[in-house]
Amino acid sequence: MTGTSKITRYAIVYSVLSAATFVSIFPFYWMIVGATNTSAEIVKGKTSFGGNLLANIERLLEQVDLGRVFLNSAGLAVAGTLLTLLVSSLAGYGFEMFRSRIRERIFALLLLLLSVPFAALMVPLFIMVSSAGLANTFVAVVLPSIASIFIIFYFRQATKAFPGELRDAARIDGLREWQIFLHVYMPAMRSTYAAATIIVFMMSWNNFLWPLIVLQTPEHKTITLVISALTSAYTPDFGVILVATILATLPTLVLFFVLQRQFVAGMLGSVK
């Protein structure tokens, strides 16, 4: 390969990646700029920072019990994430480690179940949850999402990379299967769990339709429900909405940056 063609190649790579980076980042910049402007300025498409940030925050706090809302969202997301990781990783491990023809069939069927739109299941689910006396509880929000087909798939893929020697050694040491899972598999798959944490946390933090249907009282509101209510005005205040949007995006962003290194490593494991 000659020097010049290498230079052109890198020039192309850098310009493509820079363009992609710009396109990816710009809406975030737009969101932050918007939060500092008035609603009228945002509608006119102002692209520079303004001085309205504090006023927007103040008006948001007037309308919304932010502490409560965040606590609700965070509680739901944390509980949902922990339970989903546990149940779905158990299943992913089980499907991969202990093969049987019936379970392979079931596994294949799961992919098809993934494609049923939620709208079709909402009314039956709601009837079930209410007749169990769980309407308007956080339990009802979390329960249906704990066994996530997507995460089961993900863990099964990742388990393919789990070294069989580790498991054999543990068996020789006399560990039971659940102990192997708990003490050998889970620590060894830390980064897989980290990656799944990000994905599951994002899904449950941003969950909208089901919490909307199940939760009835204002004390139970989550941040996505609040944003939806804010946008409903005849004259929506976009400054306030964008402040709420930033607050709603921050936790997932922070989590991503904290777990980023393990995330990439975890994804790596899942496709081996």
């Binding site: 692209t47 494609s115 049923v116 689910l125 066994a147 996505t224 997932t252």
Partner: protein
């Protein structure tokens, strides 16, 4: 002894998958069976009665359904390949250990998928106004002479929805490819390079075949996502202008919540999506197998 071990394996196998299967049985399979039963009911609101296959017959005469089906297929056929190709290209570029700043690029391109659907839809809508920042930018670069009517022209509205989904999900798919690429033994590439195989041929003849399982997985997930496309069209265009971006999921939503509720029929339309996913996933499996 051996059969005892096998027996133990069986029991353990079930024990590990049981919690998930039990929950899926209660919260997925049971509602699915229930909604299949509902899909055989006709009537308005709470006045439902058994109608047999009336809802399925109704599909064929329903122009709006056929229109939504066409739109959904257009989104699927155009968007999924573009996104997967872009994700692959980015991943291959970022797989170069000598590339300076790859961590920054990788993070930046992945970042869109941490935004919530409600939030990013609101952002895109405001950016694509006719005198919004996208048009202003394109005009400043002299790429266009007058503003594109992103939200009010049927063609450009489709383009904008495709841009929005691509923005949100390309980085997500890229991470899968990037991870897969890092597992490929670099010596294969070295050998190919020494043999004088050009970069493009290496991409198509080496990279893509090696990544086939991951590409299959992501394309099935993307297919399901695109066929269930709802939040973006609901929040950005409401299916407009003039039904140009109406998707099957949005139509199901309208049938359930906006129109006189005919829940049986909307459940029937839902199962059209399931059948489509089944067919398309099967085709994707076939294609992946053939090339082996």
């Amino acid at each position: 002894m051996r059969s005892k071990i096998a027996h133990g394996e069986q029991i353990n196998g079930w024990l590990f998958v049981m919690p998930a299967l039990a929950l899926l049985g209660i919260f997925l399979v049971y509602p699915i069976l229930w909604s299949l039963w509902i899909s055989l009911q006709v009537g308005k609101g709470s006045n439902l009665h058994f109608g047999g296959f009336a809802n399925i017959l109704r599909l064929f005469g329903d122009k709006v359904f056929l229109h939504a089906l066409t739109n959904t297929c257009v989104f699927f056929v155009v968007q999924v390949p573009i996104m997967i190709l872009l994700a692959l290209v980015f991943a291959v570029m970022l797989n170069d250990a000598k590339l300076w700043g790859r961590g920054i690029f990788r993070t930046a391109i992945f970042l869109p998928c941490v935004t919530s659907l409600v939030a990013y839809s609101a952002l895109f809508r405001s950016m694509f106004e006719s005198d919004g920042v996208v048009n202003n930018g394109l005009m400043a670069l002299h790429l266009i002479a007058e503003p594109i009517q992103w939200l009010t022209d049927p063609f450009w509205a489709k383009v904008m929805i495709i841009l929005a989904i691509t923005w949100r999900w390309t980085g997500y798919n890229m991470i899968f490819y990037l991870a897969a690429l890092q597992n490929i033994d670099q010596s294969i590439y070295e050998a190919a390079r020494i043999d004088g195989i050009p970069a493009r041929a290496r991409f198509f003849r080496l990279t893509i075949p090696l990544l086939k399982p991951v590409i299959l997985f992501t394309s099935i997930i993307s297919t399901i996502g695109t066929l269930q496309l709802f939040d973006e069209v609901n929040n950005i265009t409401q299916g407009g202008p003039g039904d140009a971006t109406l998707t099957l999921s949005l139509y199901i939503y309208n049938l359930t919540f906006q129109f006189m509720p005919s829940f049986g029929y909307s459940a029937t339309v839902s199962y059209v999506i399931v059948v489509l996913v089944a067919i398309l996933s099967f085709l994707q499996f076939l294609i992946a197998r053939d090339k082996k």
